[in-house]
Every structure is written in structure tokens, then in C-alpha cells.
């Protein structure tokens, strides 16, 4: 086994996902198959190979730091599931 039920639960917690017991069972099986498959990368010796995170030679794209109009508050809040016209509202954080 490449991954256990406990590890799936741990990863789900890191990813902020609640999984039911049935989901944990199913995902453990599927993730195990996928991780077993990707382990074929171990056949390759990559010592000294530089990692590719980006395919184009892009450098930081800077622009001048000038004040410009930004998204109006009303529009920025428009898709909020809960908002009070000034900010997004969330369940109490500090007791």
C-alpha cells in the first residue's frame, strides 16, 4: 500500500475537506492506484536535473507602482455568501 486510510484522513484535513468513512475507503483505493502508478518515476535517475516549474523564460513582470482605481467595494462584495455592505461576514473566530 502506498497510502493508508489514516494518511488520506490527514491529507483531507490539510486540504480542508471532510470525508465520510465511505469516501475515505473509496479515495484510499483510488489514490493508492494512482500513487502506485506514478511511482514509475523512480525508474529514472534525476540526480542533478534542474526542475521545470515554468516552460517559458519569464522574469518578473514589474510595472510602475501608481495609484489606480480598483474594484469598487460594492462589486467586490457582490458575490459574498454573507456580507454586511462593508465586509464579508464569517462565523465567530475568537470566542
Amino acid at each position: 500500500m502506498k497510502i493508508t486510510r489514516e494518511e488520506v484522513r490527514h491529507v483531507a484535513k490539510l486540504a480542508r475537506l471532510d470525508l465520510t468513512d465511505a469516501e475515505v475507503d473509496r479515495m484510499t483505493g483510488q489514490l493508492d492506484a494512482i500513487l502506485t502508478y506514478v511511482a514509475k518515476l523512480d525508474e529514472l535517475d534525476t540526480t542533478g536535473v534542474v526542475a521545470t516549474t515554468h516552460t517559458q523564460q519569464v522574469v518578473n513582470a514589474f510595472r510602475d507602482d501608481v495609484v489606480r482605481p480598483s474594484l469598487p467595494r460594492e462589486q467586490a462584495l457582490a458575490n459574498g455568501p454573507e456580507q454586511n455592505g462593508e465586509s464579508f461576514v464569517v462565523p465567530r473566530v475568537i470566542g
Partner: protein, 486 residues
């Protein structure tokens, strides 16, 4: 004749000649949608009134001599591109009802060119999938055989074009999501070079792989769409500042002087015999057009799926962390604490495939596994990229199948994620290497299902792709062949 069955450039010719108005074209397409959409199921949102309003405006602009290059032509876009005039769901309950506060640059370029925006097209949730069955709202059907998949993740974009429900569409391609549905539905589909088209307003899946591109009825239409959507955008810091060539001038008959490579690894096990035969016929067409055919090798092909299914989920797990039920998207209202709200909202808002990829990605990036999975995959990505660089030193283009098989019945492969991942083997290396690729129809199988031919080129060699595809199209003679819908 129905106007909706015309190609984009034919309709443009009629508009330019004053034989038809944009309102007439738009009404024709809307009537076509009414007739076939119950079967095809390509549209997640249709803006009937807005389309007719834009068509009236386009006719006015044309009268005033202010017509842009696509003025008055009705098009549609994959629901992964943000639009202010319609909701953007990404095929997910998570974004049901979300209306973006800005338009994606690719969409804005289309409407700035005068195109009429009809609606938003069905897709796999967050573009994760190869069949569009992961769409939370509807599953598009293959117009050539309803009940069969249209492919994915841009399944709605391919089905709508194939069914004449728009003159052209936009999709997005992270591992084949434009080319694969184009192949399965018998349309042209191009994934441009990474950075050629702005990703601003494209809901992010895997940021180092995602690219917006067109799906069209023929190669000339592809060139016309590419002309409009390509170019640098200050709002996307990964878009490349490089002049956009005149793509239609690349559409020349004959391929003399062009060297086209056959990557031997792309004709291996699991390739459907009818697909192989069709693609081999396509290769003969390229040869007949004057191209020199050579054999090339991409030795790390066998590792592409493994690399992709670590890197794409890793990037996705990071990108999709933004869906927390606070600023937009679904919120579970039963939660009493903030943490509970995050996890319940995400668990109810995301579908299975999205959860699966978030879990793989989180695992591959997590402490203790990062080196073994994400870093290792990124190193092998370098080897894959180097394979392409070596191959393109020996040829101008590469020719291959797009998918190992034609379309299959909806539901057939839904329970085996790994089997579906493996079917992406011929397309996802282009995304890993950042190169452009295109699917052009080259034949049909015995069941009447379309088969596409894939062409791949070096970075920014879209003109060569278009030229070769144009020559295949001329010889295959399939433009105008339509599915017998409704």
C-alpha cells in the same frame, strides 16, 4: 440553407458582402440551438436577449464602417472564462450563480472584435476530466452519436461547434482539454503556446499548464480566432510580449520544405486500429502535400502521465484553496466555527474528481513527500521538455493521433480514474513542454465517429501547425460533413 451551418469565415464573407445581417445569423444560430440543444446539452448559460442586442449593435457598427474583424459573428465560450454578462460556474456547484466582476481578456478580445457572445459551454468541473461527465449541471453529448461522450474538459465547446450551435468557441487546455474533445467531435481545436493567449479571467486549474484556445469548424476559422485572442496582456504576467503574426497568411497549399516527424512512442500499445489507420492516411496526405516525413523519438513519453498527474493536481490543490466560502462561491450555513465552515463548504461544493485531485496534490506537496513526488515530477518534466527540444531540432512539426480511441458511451469509464488519466497520454506532454498543438479531423471510424490528427510544433510555431492542418483539411475533404442531428 441554414446560416448556422456555415463556417465562421463563410458567414463573415456574407456579412462583408451585405448578403446577411448579424441579426439574421444570430437568429439562425438561436433556432438551431432550440432544435438540437435538448439532445446535445452543450450550453450551461444562453444569453438570448443579450446576443440579439449585440447583433443589432454589430449591424449598426458595420453600417458605420466600424466593423471589427469578427463583427456580428455569434460565438460561445467555455464556462471557465469569466464574463460579466452571464454567470461563470466552471461546471461546479461551488460557483453556482457566481457572476464575475470582470471579463476574461480572451472574451473581451472577442467582443472588442465585434463577436456576439451567445453563452457559456459545459465542461468538467474546474476543467478536471476527459469526458465532461464531471460537470455538476449537465453532460454534453457527442453530436455524431448522442449518448457518447463529447470529450473533455471542453466538451461543450466542441459539441456546440460540431452541432452548429455557434460559429466558433473558446476552450481551455491543461492536458488536452481542447484537442481531445475537438478530435472526438470532429472539429478543429488548437492549444496555443503557453503565454500566447492571456489567462486573465480564466479560472485557474494548473497555472503552469493552462492555456486558452479556439475550437472551430475549419482551419481558416482557427486562424481567424487565434488572430483575435493572441497577444500580450499586462494583466497576465505569464503572457509573452511578442508580435502576433498574420495567421491566415500561413494557410498555403503545399508543404514543400517542411519536415514532419512521427514520434514512434505515439503509435504504441492501446492505439485503436481504426484511429491508427486514419492517422496513417493523414500522414500520407502530409507527404502528398510535399512534406518530408521522418521518424523522431520522445523517449520519456511513458512518464508523461505520471508527471502530469502529480504536477497538475499539485497546482490545482493550491489554486483551489481559494474556495473557502468567504468571498464567493458556495457556503455551508450549518457550520458554527470558521474551520468547520471552510471544510463543510468545500466538501459539499466540490465533486469527487476535484476532491481526488486536491488530495493527490496536497499529498504530493506535503511535508516528507514533496521531494519524492512534486520535485521528482518537476525534474522529469525537464527531461520531457528536452525530448521535445531535441525532436524539433530534427523536424518542424510532429504528427500523431490525438487520442488512443474515438468517443465511447457516456458512463463507460466513469469508475476508473486511472484508466481515464492514461487516455490523455498523447496530449498532455504538449502542456508539460509548453508547446502548441492542434487537432484537425482526418477521418471517421466504422461507427461514424470522428477521428482527429494531432500536430505539435515548437514554441510559437502556430503558423506551421495551421499550414500543415490546412493541407490535411484540403485533402481529407471533411469540411461540411455534418452529424445528422434533429
Amino acid at each position: 440553407m441554414e446560416y448556422s451551418s456555415l463556417t465562421l469565415h463563410e458567414a463573415l464573407g456574407l456579412l462583408d458582402g451585405g448578403q446577411v445581417s448579424s441579426v439574421m445569423l444570430t437568429e439562425s444560430v438561436l433556432a438551431r440551438i432550440d432544435a438540437v440543444e435538448p439532445t446535445v446539452q452543450a450550453y450551461l448559460a444562453l444569453d438570448r436577449d443579450g446576443a440579439l442586442r449585440q447583433a443589432h449593435q454589430a449591424d449598426q457598427l458595420r453600417k458605420n464602417g466600424q466593423a471589427g474583424p469578427l463583427c456580428g459573428l455569434p460565438v460561445a465560450v467555455k464556462d471557465v472564462l469569466c464574463t460579466t454578462s452571464m454567470p461563470t460556474t466552471c461546471g461546479s456547484r461551488m460557483l453556482e450563480g457566481f457572476v464575475a466582476p470582470y471579463d476574461a481578456t480572451a472574451v473581451r478580445r472577442l467582443t472588442d472584435a465585434g463577436a456576439v457572445l451567445l453563452g457559456k459551454l459545459a465542461m468538467d468541473e474546474f476543467a478536471m476530466g476527459s469526458t465532461s461527465e464531471n460537470c455538476a449541471f449537465k453532460v454534453p453529448n457527442n453530436p455524431w452519436k448522442p449518448g457518447y461522450v463529447a470529450g473533455g474538459s471542453s466538451g461543450g465547446s466542441a459539441a456546440a461547434v460540431a452541432a452548429d450551435e455557434c460559429f466558433a468557441s473558446l476552450g481551455s487546455d491543461t492536458g488536452g482539454s481542447i484537442r481531445q474533445p475537438a478530435s472526438l467531435c470532429g472539429t478543429v481545436g488548437m492549444k496555443p503556446t503557453y503565454g500566447r493567449v492571456s489567462r486573465y479571467g480564466l479560472v485557474a486549474f494548473a497555472s503552469s499548464l493552462d492555456q486558452v484556445g479556439p475550437l472551430t469548424k475549419d482551419v481558416r476559422d482557427c486562424a481567424l480566432m487565434m488572430q483575435v485572442i493572441s497577444g500580450h496582456d499586462p494583466l497576465d504576467s505569464t503572457s509573452i510580449d511578442r508580435p502576433v503574426p498574420d495567421y491566415t497568411s500561413a494557410l498555403q497549399e503545399g508543404l514543400k520544405g517542411m519536415k514532419i516527424g512521427i514520434p514512434r512512442e505515439y503509435f504504441g500499445q492501446g492505439l485503436d486500429p481504426e484511429v491508427e489507420r486514419s492517422v496513417r492516411e493523414g500522414i500520407v496526405m502530409l507527404k502528398d502535400a510535399g512534406a518530408e516525413i521522418v521518424e523522431v523519438t520522445l523517449p520519456h513519453t511513458d512518464y508523461c502521465v505520471a508527471v502530469y498527474y502529480l504536477i497538475a493536481p499539485a497546482e490545482a490543490s493550491s489554486n483551489l484553496a481559494r474556495y473557502d466560502g468567504v468571498r464567493y462561491g458556495f457556503r455551508d450555513r450549518s457550520a458554527s466555527s470558521l474551520l468547520e465552515m471552510y471544510s463543510r463548504s468545500r466538501s459539499k461544493g466540490f465533486g469527487d474528481e476535484v476532491k481526488r485531485r486536491i488530495l493527490i496534490g496536497t499529498y504530493a506537496l506535503s511535508s516528507g513527500y514533496y521531494d519524492a513526488f512534486y520535485k521528482k515530477a518537476s525534474q522529469v518534466r525537464t527531461l520531457i521538455k528536452d525530448d521535445f527540444a531535441r525532436a524539433f531540432a530534427a523536424c518542424d512539426l510532429m504528427v500523431s493521433p490525438v487520442t488512443p480511441t474515438p468517443a465511447w458511451p457516456i458512463g463507460d469509464k466513469a469508475d476508473d480514474p486511472l484508466a481515464l488519466y492514461l487516455s490523455d497520454i498523447l496530449t498532455l506532454s504538449a502542456n508539460l513542454a509548453g508547446i502548441p498543438g492542434l487537432s484537425v479531423p482526418c477521418g471517421f471510424n466504422g461507427e461514424g465517429l470522428p477521428i482527429g490528427l494531432q500536430l505539435q510544433a515548437a514554441h510559437f510555431d502556430e503558423e506551421k501547425l495551421l499550414r500543415a492542418a490546412y493541407n490535411v483539411e484540403l485533402r481529407a475533404g471533411l469540411v461540411g460533413k455534418k452529424p445528422s442531428l434533429a
